[in-house]
């Protein structure tokens, strides 16, 4: 038989337990402010391989003759990866200017870019430039024709062509020395417009939720 005191304790225990449960439920999904509801956002996001700035030389036939057949690379290059200046303007006001390098300690990895800028809703003229900082007139070196200095034989037949193609592929995979986008963009509150690098067109473009595959 439950006495009055025990009944009272049980009621208190159930009540206290219910309060604890309500606290858990309440704090389990509490609305927490995140973004400013009055703002829109411009996001710059792309990744690309930086250009390789190289000084290349064609190895002479005499040198090649002295090497083992599998070591006979026709063109030897030495250099480093380019760095870039990113400049973002909104309505002729510079909102960001920074230097972008390839990732990794030696900056020899692809460069990754992710920048967010909060802007008021409405139309804005957006100008983005992404320009290589290093001045060089040796860009064509990578595309230089590689001519066979000696006859290749066996599995090495056609190596000169493959070597030339590899140089060209690397040059094509790199981001262009200069990218620019100058456009008017209409921003809606709490919406994001993304400027990204289109690898196929090799140009910057604007994405929004109507032009993106998610």
């Amino acid at each position: 038989m439950i006495t009055g005191a025990r009944l009272k304790r049980r009621v208190v225990a159930v009540g206290a337990g219910a309060i604890v449960l309500l606290l858990i439920v309440g704090t389990s999904a509490a609305p927490l402010p995140f973004h400013d509801p009055a703002m829109a956002r411009l996001r710059l996001s792309w990744s690309a391989r930086p250009e390789r700035i190289e000084v290349c030389r064609t190895v002479s036939a005499e040198e090649l003759e002295q090497r083992e057949e599998h070591m006979r690379q026709r063109v030897e290059c030495d250099g480093r990866f380019a760095t870039y200046t990113l400049r973002v303007e909104a309505d002729d006001r510079v909102v960001s200017e920074s230097i972008v390098r390839g990732a990794g300690l030696r900056h020899d990895r692809p460069l990754y870019l992710l920048r967010d800028f909060d802007l008021p809703p409405g139309g804005h003229r957006i100008r983005v430039t992404f320009t290589r900082r290093e001045k060089t007139d040796d860009d064509a070196a990578a595309f230089a024709k590689v001519t066979p200095a000696v006859r290749d034989s066996g599995i090495f037949v056609g190596r000169a062509e493959r070597e030339a193609e590899e140089h060209a592929r690397r040059a094509r995979a790199a981001i262009p020395a200069s990218l620019a986008l100058d456009t008017s963009v209409t921003f809606t509150r709490r919406r994001v417009k993304i400027i990204t690098f289109d690898r196929d067109r090799r140009a910057l473009e604007v994405l929004d939720d109507t032009r993106a595959s998610r």
């Binding site: 449960l21 858990i24 439920v25 389990s28 992710l114 939720d209």
Partner: protein, 521 residues
């Protein structure tokens, strides 16, 4: 540090008292925080297995939303999974606070403290991955914050944050790896839990059955009545004004978002360093009340009882280095927490922390307490109270006419002490222990009951009238229960025949040293 610990202990005692008033000491969930955390981990695993059947890495939000729309199972099982994770974190925090406040975080308990911290950290990461799995606005927010924090570390070849930028779909591989972590981390926690309790003998991993049922039943009721909502789907092109945030497991998020990644990591490392160094700064000299137990080889009979009773597996039986045939107990000081349980377990009173062995207890009684008892003239009830007992509660017993004799822990009490008190004129002895699940020595009340009433080794001798001995519980917030127990005991003693003291008994004589073989000859 002592100042902080004292303050924490005061807070703990107040909160404990409030919880005991609400739930009673037997059901006080604050005494069960560690086991509640383990119970919640089991609930998480069981409910998680069901949720896993429906989760799709190719369509995370859609699969969770479909699950949450199941009226009969999915909705409440998902909610139970969520609320159990919340209770796990709450229980783990309270457990750590309790251990800290009770100075149970240093010395031999350092391994448990450090492994507990790691378990807690892994639990938070596990909760993080769980919310990202849903891929609603909150999950996306957590993922972005995680990416922001991880990108400053040289871990990923490509910054994680770019996955969520929106210029390309979030790859399914991300959700697969996230799900893998969410499954693998609890398995790692199982191994961590083994380490956490590895120094305990007979670790108790679950709360009492009825409390477990009440907690899981309560969470299930909450899941049915107030199911956890699913937020709006993640959208890289939308800026959520607010997110339905779990403040229990992601309490750090509002702070972290306001800090740079470097500062956030700095705070994490600083917090972790402070927590890890608690055993270093909380430690006290292993002397006096904290001295490890010692064995008197001359008294040890090799009965193997103290290793069985030791809650910390700190005692082993080893070959003797004299000519006696039996083994001898050996205390490992690195494992001994000086709980003194062994002092009560040794019939010949040959083991215990310095000054607290059975013989020391009898000496103390004879030198200080018994003369006082004799001076009082009339036979009175002696209340043996644990030193942890609240002062106000012992004062209430004194006000009822009981003579209070404090001991370091009721579980240390040698049964000869009870016999000596009765032989010296006490009309009855009532021993107040802490609630069984809140004993600092872990198993004090359990072994005491076994020795007094169930003839466990070092038992109360058959010649002692059990009607004059009572065991009770004293807990902050349950003073009336303690007083009621005394009143009931007093009533029961009234009907007994008059008690005749026998003060000349020499109890130590009954516990003579083990004779050597030569002496036997």
């Amino acid at each position: 540090m002592k100042f902080i610990i004292r303050g924490a202990r005061r807070i703990l005692r107040s909160v404990d008292a409030a919880a005991t008033r609400a739930f009673g000491w037997a059901w006080n969930p604050l005494h069960q925080t560690g086991t509640v955390a383990v119970a919640m981990l089991l609930v998480l695993i069981v409910t998680g297995l069901y949720l896993l059947l429906y989760y799709r890495v190719g369509a995370p939000w859609e699969s969770v939303a479909r699950l949450a729309a199941q009226p009969w199972a999915g909705r409440w099982i998902r909610s139970l999974h969520r609320y159990a994770s919340d209770l796990f974190v709450i229980a783990a925090v309270l457990h750590a606070f309790r251990m800290f406040a009770q100075s149970r975080s240093w010395g031999p308990r350092t391994l448990a403290w450090i492994s507990g911290l790691v378990l807690f950290g892994v639990g938070l990461v596990c909760a993080w991955t769980g919310f990202v799995m849903v891929w609603d606005a909150f999950g996306e927010r957590l993922a972005r914050e995680g990416g922001r924090l991880l990108d400053v570390l040289p871990v990923f070849s490509e910054p994680l944050s770019r996955i969520f930028a929106g210029d390309a779909p979030v790859p399914s591989a991300f959700f697969f790896v996230n799900m893998f972590l969410h499954i693998a981390l609890p398995l790692a926690m199982g191994a961590g839990l083994w380490l956490h309790v590895s120094r305990l003998a007979r670790p108790v991993l679950l709360p009492p059955k009825r409390l477990t049922q009440a907690i899981i039943g309560g969470l299930t009721a909450a899941s049915l009545l107030l199911p956890a909502p699913v937020g709006a789907p993640a959208d890289a092109f939308r800026l959520a004004e607010s997110t339905l945030t779990n403040l229990v497991t992601a309490w750090w998020l509002p702070v972290s978002e306001r800090l740079t990644p470097g500062m956030a990591w700095g705070v994490v490392l600083l917090g972790a360093a402070v927590a890890v160094l608690v055993p270093r700064f909380g430690r006290r000299p292993r002397a006096g009340a904290l001295a490890p137990s010692v064995v008197d080889p001359a008294l040890c009979t090799g009965c193997n009882q103290c290793p069985q009773d030791c809650p910390w597996e700190a005692i082993a039986m080893v070959p003797r280095d004299d000519d006696r045939p039996a083994l001898v107990a050996l205390v490992n000081p690195a494992r001994c927490v000086s709980c003194g349980i062994c002092a009560g377990s040794c019939a010949p009173m040959g083991v215990g922390p310095a000054g607290r062995s059975g013989r020391d207890q009898l000496s103390l009684l004879r030198s200080t307490f018994l003369p006082e008892l004799a001076r009082s003239g009339n036979p009175s009830i002696v209340a043996v109270c644990c030193a942890q007992a609240p002062e106000a509660d012992t004062a209430a017993l004194r006000a009822r006419g009981a003579r209070v004799h404090p001991v370091s822990c009721a579980g240390n009490l040698h049964t000869s002490g009870i016999e000596l008190l009765l032989r010296s004129g006490a009309s009855g002895v009532i021993v107040y222990g802490c609630p069984p699940r809140d004993c600092v020595g872990r198993e004090g009340p359990k072994w005491l009951r076994e020795r007094v009433f169930n003839d466990r080794e070092a038992e109360l001798q058959p010649r002692v009238d059990r009607r004059r001995v009572r065991l009770a519980t004293m807990a902050p917030g349950a003073r009336s229960e303690a007083v009621d127990a005394l009143d009931a005991f007093t009533q029961d003693l009234v009907i007994l025949e008059p008690h005749l003291p026998d003060p000349d008994a020499d109890l130590e004589v009954e516990c003579v040293p083990v004779p050597s073989e030569e002496e036997d000859a």
